[in-house]
Amino acid sequence: MGWAIALHGGAGDIPHSLPPERRLPREACLRHCLQIGVDALTSRKSPLDVVELVVRELENNPHFNAGRGSVLTTSGTVEMEACIMDGKSMRCGAVSGLTTVVNAISLSRLVMEKTPHIYLGFKGAEAFAREQGIETVDASHFITQENVERLKQAKEANRVQVDYTQPVEKDVKRDELKPDGDSQIGTVGCVAVDSEGNLAAATSTGGLVNKMVGRIGDTPIIGAGTYANSLCAVSATGKGEAIIRGTVARDVAALMEFKGMSLQEAAALVVGDRVPKGHVGLVAVSATGEVTMPFNTTGMFRACATEDGHSEIAIWDS
């Protein structure tokens, strides 16, 4: 027993050759966010508050694909989505298609607390944000030069693919293109448990580079990208479509509930069996303070800490 926290900044084909100027700021951000989370937990903030706080920090950091730094749609715009869930009450909130809300995760919390609904999307969600007086900015705030470049590369790669006529090339799906390999399919997330066993999970993302306008991924879908109940809290990242199909976050909890597996066994089975290799990573904590951070991709930006003093910041397999 004891508190525990884990967070991620996306799983994917992160090359081992990732240059220091791209690696170090991300590691620094993970360390900073972990510290904020640990401080909040030790000052007895509720896990729900902790995961929101940490994900806000991750959203505000342009190095990860959420909030500022979100990747761009095929039209060059940003459409952000997020989801939050409280383990004990199983209350949850989700948002999609945000274009001006600074912290998508906080709007999802407001959907959970201030509406009779769980999930608001697009214009209706933006209107709700204004009604609630949450901070909004011009959509251009979220767009970084790096992501403009990424979109350009993705589009060029797509054009090349269309130009090729070989059947093999036709099989290349648009979402499998990874022009520069790092954080293409990134998402941020945080899970936390306090020493009383209260759990919460939160996930936030800008989605997929060059995604179609209106595309919804796994992040805002309860049971896919995000889930928490009285046993565990889970935040997943990777190829959204595969995570939706695998109901990844719920299945970790379901295996614990229905098969009596430990957190680690359940998470390992889901990452190993429910989703094809190269598609998923997740962070999870259990009510008893266990942590696990498995992935079947090349790497996952991740960090965790537990009350008994274990702490870790990592990208690839150790």
Partner: protein, 328 residues
């Protein structure tokens, strides 16, 4: 090879016990008609995924239930429809939300599954995809019925969210009476109202399962509200073992990941189909949440379960079982 085809259809759970008889008859007639369309298609060896799409299209096109034409209205008096479809083999899936001009949302969900790199498209982007795919589009007016305009007026006068076929009622003999801490909407527990989504699950003679769900959502809902119907694992799920479609209080269904859980308890606890449905209705709906579930297994079994006053439903199997019912 499977052990025979089977199909189940629903037109929503949580039926007003005082629903006039002629409405009940109309609903049964529609379900019978759609059921026989599905049965004929299965007899002609159409794959399950085609059958569920075909049947849900029929349900959408008829104004009776809350999907397609006849959808519930948003607080602004518009229609915003959503749907999802899932194919058991390979667990392929497609979903749509926030549609305003697409005549058959379920068919657009199918196109998202087959013609886009994504699983889920919503609002303006989904509409744009629909135009590019050349699916049938109509004015938003087409979906709006006089009956629903009246219902919206009623809901707005009560300043509340209203599901189809239900009028605000503060009496204790309602679905929401058992809630310990009911979510109060302007003085009324939200669960006194019941929704009316449509859905179909089928297994073909090859033993392949599929599921489809379509809805207009809640009466007087906020624009932008997304419910359980388009969410894979909540309103809709299909895998190798079974196909599942849910209806009821969307928010309770989402929290309970009901559709996935029917499959999960079969997979992880070894329960049979009906046992799985009963387990999920009993154990996975929190705070007195009300819902109904229909399901088929790859072995050609059918099952349904609900914990509210009734569910519009029709069931048929290859070995001759046929039932169209509303109440317990």
């Amino acid at each position: 090879m499977g052990r025979g085809w089977a199909i189940v259809i629903h037109g929503g759970a949580g039926v007003d016990p005082n629903l006039p008889l002629h409405h009940q008859e109309e609903a049964k007639k529609l379900i019978s008609r759609c059921l026989s369309i599905g049965v004929s298609a299965l007899r002609c060896s159409l794959p399950a995924i085609d059958v569920v799409e075909l049947v849900v299209r029929e349900l959408e096109s008829d104004p009776l239930f809350n999907s397609g034409r006849g959808s519930a209205l948003t607080e602004k008096g518009t229609v915003e429809m959503e749907a999802s479809i899932m194919d058991g083999p390979g667990r392929r899936c497609g979903a749509v939300s926030g549609l305003t001009t697409v005549k058959n949302p379920i068919s657009l969900a199918r196109l998202v599954m087959e013609k886009s790199p994504h699983s889920y498209l919503a609002f303006a982007g989904a509409e744009e995809f629909a135009r590019r795919q050349g699916v049938e589009m109509v004015e938003n007016e087409y979906f709006i019925t006089e009956l629903n305009k009246g219902m919206l007026k009623l809901a707005q006068e009560a300043n509340s969210i209203l599901f189809d076929y239900r009028v605000p009622n503060t009496g204790s003999e309602t679905c929401g009476a058992s809630m310990e801490k009911p979510l109060i909407m302007n003085g009324l527990p939200i669960s006194v109202y019941a929704p009316e989504t449509v859905g179909c699950v089928a297994v073909d003679s090859q033993g392949q399962c599929a599921a489809a769900t379509s809805t207009g959502g809640l009466m007087n809902k906020m624009t932008g509200r997304i419910g359980d119907s388009p969410l894979i694992g909540s309103g809709t799920y299909a895998g190798n073992l079974c196909g599942v479609s849910c209806t009821g209080e969307g928010e309770a269904i989402i929290r309970g990941t009901l559709a996935r859980d029917v499959a999960a308890v079969m997979e992880y606890k070894g329960l049979g189909l009906q046992e799985a449905v009963d387990f999920v209705v009993k154990e996975r709906l929190d705070n007195g949440g009300k819902a109904g579930i229909i399901a088929v297994s790859r072995d050609g079994e059918v099952a349904c379960g609900f914990n509210c006053t009734g569910m519009f439903r029709g069931l048929a199997t290859e070995d001759g079982f046929l039932e169209v019912a509303i109440w317990d």
